[in-house]
Amino acid sequence: MTAVSTRRSGATALSRTTGHIAIALVGLLMFYPLLWMLSSSFKPVSEIFGPGSGALIPGSPSLDNYSEGWTGPGLPFTRYLINSLIVCTLTVLGNVLSCSLAAFAFARMQFLGRKAFFAAMLATVMLPQHVTLISQYAIFRDLGWLDTYLPLVVPKFLATEAFFVFLMVQFIRGIPRELDEAARIDGCSWWGIYRKIVLPLLSPALVTTAIFSFIWAYNDFLAPLIYISSPEKLTVPLALRTFLDSSGQSAWGQLFAMSIVTLIPVVAAFVIFQRRIVEGVSTTGLK
């Protein structure tokens, strides 16, 4: 018995080691382009192309790409970062507020048409945005909202990202109803129950919503591309694209430097909220 189990654990250890090496190698291969971009952002263009350009250690590292790239796309990059920050903050706020209100009603309250509305909410989760995009554009144009952040932000205050509503409904269903009932006996209104009981207990789902709202809004390209045209209003992805279109072969170093800058907020969010993010992905299929 012992002999068998030792032999088996020996074999497992061996296969574990090979597994370990394979995983590490594949991981390195996948990460290599990212590391290479990071390293290239410190290289002069002559080192980014040509023989030996694959090296990860810059021959003569310098911050020139960053200082030149920062003003490369026209306005200082600070402007675009602030723009994106405005859009992302409002998006997070809108999603957290409007989705939690709707989720509370779906999870806790009785009302006419509850089933139909819930089904409609679920259906919109899978809806491709293109089928609403064209009409929304026409509507926002008629409202005079083109080239403002309103088309990017107002829908978030109207719980259009139904996925988060669904996420919160699931979460609220896990909160014991006895808490609501106790509060009601103490004279709490629905608003009181939402505000004082459910909202605090919902905070893990709110944080997940906030993180993914932020990342999605920050990376969003299509909607800003359609709505925003003034150079001083561009969000980060648009600014990067403008930079790409306007720069020649010589600007790759600067382009990489600014690309790295744009990736920092997402990577930082990931590092800080890693556990929450992974949990969110594994329980709900968020990306």
């Binding site: 497992t12 829908p155 629905w190």
Partner: protein
């Protein structure tokens, strides 16, 4: 209970709930259902945003069927979905299986593999892809070390789409994380019992792990297909908005964008949008129907 109350008082009793739902209701009717129907209406018209829509009947749809660029975009998108989704899921499951064997550093590796999923849709990564698969880009520099002279992957119509497929497969971390969570749900006793009965690794995987994992495979499949059909940013950035070379990266959404916001043929683009909706709905429905044959829910019958 409530069903016996007259409609009016039930409506009155519903008012507080509607108050909570009001932002969502405005969004549902004003930004989702309303615009959906409006898009449907536009799809039967000639609409340039400058003048009122002009009724065309089914013209836009019949034009679609004879538009070579549109048919190209269907083929391009179909190829993209067909090749990226299965490979992405296979990579995700394989790595998840390896990681799931009680490996030390699991959290670290899971994070490393997941990060590309977070970044992959960004303009920055698309820019990186444009460089590394360019004619004098990183890939060819590395190939040169082995004495192979690569072409311009992005500038050749034969290979441009493959670089975008690779970019999607590169993001297998998200389905992998979902697989890992699913693998953890599989009872270890089952696998141990099978091992004692002499089932080898492959047998245990095929007879136990995979069947128990089918709901997760299904979930990932539906999610990834829906996502892949709507991919836009990588094709837009890598091809400079054109879908080139020779329309080889003209994704469905990219062509829709060109028609809608390049030449403001809103009616035509609206028809494209509705066809896309129907395609995605059909794939999702087909997935659900076929899932009855191969997806196994272990808690069936328990309730």
């Amino acid at each position: 209970m409530t069903a016996e109350l007259p409609f009016r008082s039930r409506l009155r009793a519903s008012l507080p709930a509607y108050a909570f739902l009001s932002p969502w209701l405005v969004g549902l009717f004003g930004l989702t259902l309303g615009p959906m129907l409006l898009t449907l209406y536009y799809s039967f018209t000639d609409y340039s945003l400058l003048a009122a829509p002009e009724w065309l009947g089914l013209d836009n749809y019949t034009r679609l069927a004879g538009d070579p660029r549109y048919l190209d975009s269907l083929v391009v998108t179909g190829t993209y979905v067909l090749f990226s989704v299965p490979f992405e899921l296979i990579a995700a499951l394989t790595v998840a299986m390896v990681l799931n064997r009680g490996m030390r550093g699991l959290t670290f590796y899971r994070a490393i593999y997941y990060v590309p999923s977070l970044l992959g849709g960004s303009v920055a990564i698309a820019i990186l892809w444009r460089q590394i698969f360019g004619s004098d880009g990183l890939v060819n520099q590395v190939l040169a070390i082995f004495g192979y002279e690569g072409s311009g992957w992005i500038s050749s119509p034969d290979t441009a789409l493959s670089t975008l497929i690779i970019l999607r497969i590169w993001q297998f971390g998200a389905p992998m994380v979902i697989f890992l969570a699913g693998l953890r749900q599989i009872p270890a006793e089952l696998l141990e019992a099978a091992a004692i009965d002499g089932a080898g690794k492959v047998r245990r995987f095929l007879a136990i792990t995979l069947p128990l994992l089918t709901p997760i495979v299904f979930f990932n499949l539906v999610l990834q297909i829906i996502g892949a059909f709507q991919a836009f940013t990588p094709a837009f950035i890598v091809s400079g908005g054109t879908g080139g070379p020779s329309d080889s990266t003209l994704f469905y959404t990219l062509y829709l964008y060109q028609r809608a916001f390049g030449s403001f043929e809103m009616g035509y683009a609206a028809a494209m949008a509705w066809v896309l909706l129907l395609i995605i709905a059909a794939f999702t429905a087909a997935n659900f129907m076929m899932s009855r044959r191969w997806v196994f829910y272990s808690d069936e019958g328990k309730r």
